[in-house]
Every structure is written in C-alpha cells, then in structure tokens.
Subunit: 235 residues, 2 copies
C-alpha cells in the first residue's frame, strides 16, 4: 500500500470511484476491450490499487454487475406506489425503471448487453436479477387480477406468462430508448424522456394495441383518452 501514491481517501470511497470508472469503461469499450489501465486512469488511481481492491478484471466485472443489479431492483421496487390502483402501481414501477435506466445508461448497457454477452457466469448473475424482477411483477399482476375479481380467469400460470411478456417488453424498450442514435439536425442525441417511454409501455401493455389503433391512449390519471382528446386525464 505504501507504494501507491494517492491521497488519504477512505477505502469505500475509493472503491466506489473504481466501480464507477469500471461501469463507464465496460459500457463504452465492451468487456473484452476494456483494460484495467484505462479503468485505473478513469478512476484516478494506480492500476495496482485496482487489483489490490478488486482482485481481477473478472471479479471487478462481477462486482459491477452485482452493484448495478441491486441498484436497478431497488429503484424499481422503491418507485411502485404502495396501495395505488393496479395501473397506477404499474405506471409508477415502469417510470422508476425507465428513469433509472435513462439516468444510468452505462449501468444498463453493462447489465443488458455486456453481462449477457461475455460468458455464462456473468449471464447467470444478470438472469438472477431478472428472475427477481419477474417475481415482483408477477406478484403485482396477480394482485391486480385478484382485485379485479378475475381469479379464475387470469390463472396463476397466465399471470406468470404476462409478467415475462411485460419484463421482456420493458427491457427491449429501454434498450431502444437508450441506444437510439442521432436523428435531429442539431446533432444532439434525441432520446425520449423516461416519462414518454413509460407512457409508450403503458399504452402497449395496459391499453393494448387494439384500443391504441382506435386512437385511445392511457394517461397517468388512469383514464384512456380518445382520438379527439376527450375525457380529462391528468398526471
């Protein structure tokens, strides 16, 4: 440790800096091309310190996946408004998901692309997080179905299928929302806002394409708006 020239910074803070640098580097370069040299440079520490704290590139990647997974699950579960109507709960959860992935595009790229692409151990880590989210959504949809009195119809099995469909749709939409390339003449990256993406998702999953092509839309007030914008909707 004496050989490392660095200011006296608590270990936890140093580690966070390294993990932040690793997320950024893994997301932008890709796992294989990312080097420990670059990660150390971005973190503003020496490479030996990175090895001392986080052992190896594999371990660092694994630690990053764990941290980003936990942050995403925490963001989604915290966003859901407890005790709200089913659509309100779903809306708030989706908003949490799209807000978190939009605010942490590098973290999302690590989870959704890098972790799944570079071998089974990492892919399993991210699959475990996904299982947790699917279980959470299954519970939410199951409660909504029960509340609406359709226990017999939306059988447990179909609720599980619907939860998988919902999670797959949200993942795919988050990828699309975050990796879109420049379109505007201004040269700015024109990403849809997290609220817009969550609304697209609600229109898809809650309203359904059938009503949607008929001009109806879902709005945060819980009211579908028809083609002429009738029926007041507020957020």
């Amino acid at each position: 440790m004496g050989a490392v020239k660095s200011k006296r910074v608590p270990r936890a803070v140093r580690e966070r800096q390294m993990l932040d640098a690793a997320v950024l580097t893994f997301a932008r370069r890709g796992y294989r091309a990312a080097s420990m040299d670059e990660i150390a440079e971005v973190a503003g520490v020496s490479k030996p310190l990175v090895y001392l704290y986080l052992n190896s590139k594999e371990d660092l990647f694994s630690t990053v996946i764990r941290r980003e997974s936990e942050a995403l699950v925490a963001a989604v579960t915290a966003a859901v408004e407890p005790g709200g109507t089913a659509d309100r709960q779903l809306w708030s959860g989706l908003e949490g998901f799209f807000a978190h992935t939009a605010e942490h595009p590098d973290g999302w790229a690590v989870l959704h692309q890098q972790a799944r692409t570079h071998g089974e151990p990492f892919a399993h880590q991210v699959a475990a997080m996904r299982t947790e989210i699917v279980a959470f959504v299954t519970e939410l949809l199951g409660a909504a179905a029960k509340e609406a009195g359709c226990v017999g119809e939306l059988a447990e099995r179909e609720v599980a299928g619907l939860a998988h469909a919902l999670v797959g749709a949200a993942e795919s939409l988050a990828e699309w929302a975050n990796v879109r390339t420049d379109e505007g003449a201004s040269g700015e990256r024109e990403h849809p806002s997290a609220k817009d993406t969550a609304a697209t998702m609600m229109n898809f999953a809650w309203t359904g394409l059938g009503r949607l092509t008929g001009g109806e839309r879902w709005a945060p007030g819980g009211l579908a708006v028809d083609r002429e914008g009738r029926s007041a909707a507020r957020g």
Copy 2:
C-alpha cells in the same frame, strides 16, 4: 477425404446432418462445453469430416446461427396472413413465431441464449436477425395504425417503440414457454401449446392488461370475450 469412412451421401445432406447435430449439442451442452467430437458422433460422421466441411467450431456455430435465424424469420413472415385485419395479421405472425420456437426449442436456445452469451461476433449475428424482425413488426403496426386512421397519433416514433416492446415481449414469453421445468406429477414436461402462448401474447399486447383484468380476453375471431364468456369467438 479418402481416410473418411462414410457412405456416399451428398455433401448437402451430410452438411445438414452436421448442422442438426450442432444445434442439438450447442443447445444442450452450451457453446463452450460442446465438443466437435460429440457433434461428429451425434451426426454419425468422423470429426475430420466436420472440420473439412465446416472448418472450425467458431465457423460451425456461426453457420448454425445463420441457418436458425433464417428459418425463424422465414417462419414468422410466412405465417402472417396477408390482407387480414391488423389483429389477425399479428395473431398469425405470433402463432408462427411461437409454433416455430416450440417445434425447434434447440434452435431457439441457440439463438436466444447461446448466441448472445458467447462473444460479440455471435451476438451481432443474432442482433441483425432481431433488427429484421423488428422492422417487419414496425411495418405491420404502422399499417395497422394507418388503417385505423390514427396517423398523427401513433407517430412513426411510437410505432417503432411499440414494435420493440412487442418483440421483446414475444422473446421473453417464448423463453418462458420453452424452458419451463416439470410441474406435473406425471413427470412430463408441461409446456403451454404454441396457440396458448400466442393467445397470452395477444391478450397482453392487443387487449391490454386494463381490459384483461376486467375479465375481457382476445380470441382469434377478433372479438374480446367478457368475464361470463359472452360474445361468440371462433378461430
């Protein structure tokens, strides 16, 4: 070639046998653990013949991904009933997708799991196929929106978002439908039928969770059925 003991079988037939064996082995063992020895054995040919025809394990995997991608895209596009109503077209395309993935679970495992997990070149191949399917669905949804007269509302951008959501949902549902483990006491694997999975998907995407929790369902006749099963629906 003289060293290889094998009956006179046309090259194309031999190659197909090798690719079939490779799909099965990659899906069940995983790309890394799959050996050329095992693939040759499953195909009933010598290992040198596999190398002679397909060069290397990497090339073989890449050829397998290409073949399975083309088969899946062909199955989906061929399944869509031309000239039908929007929901009918979507239903037929989804049925084609779920039927193909249910009939070829190993091919689907190669595309959806193996190809994405073992490095960027393979992941890019499968991403290219996905882009093709998303473009196809975008066109289908765009036509449906136009047909319903909501050109201004379902703007091009939202249609693209909805197509991504739909494809992500279908992928996730196909994974769930095919990897479910034993549940029944009989010890048989109890997979939902392709029709059931397609119906779950239509209930989700076409009917919407809002109507679904109210007891409505989508049915192939194009009519939603209410909780008491009113309004005739037929396939």
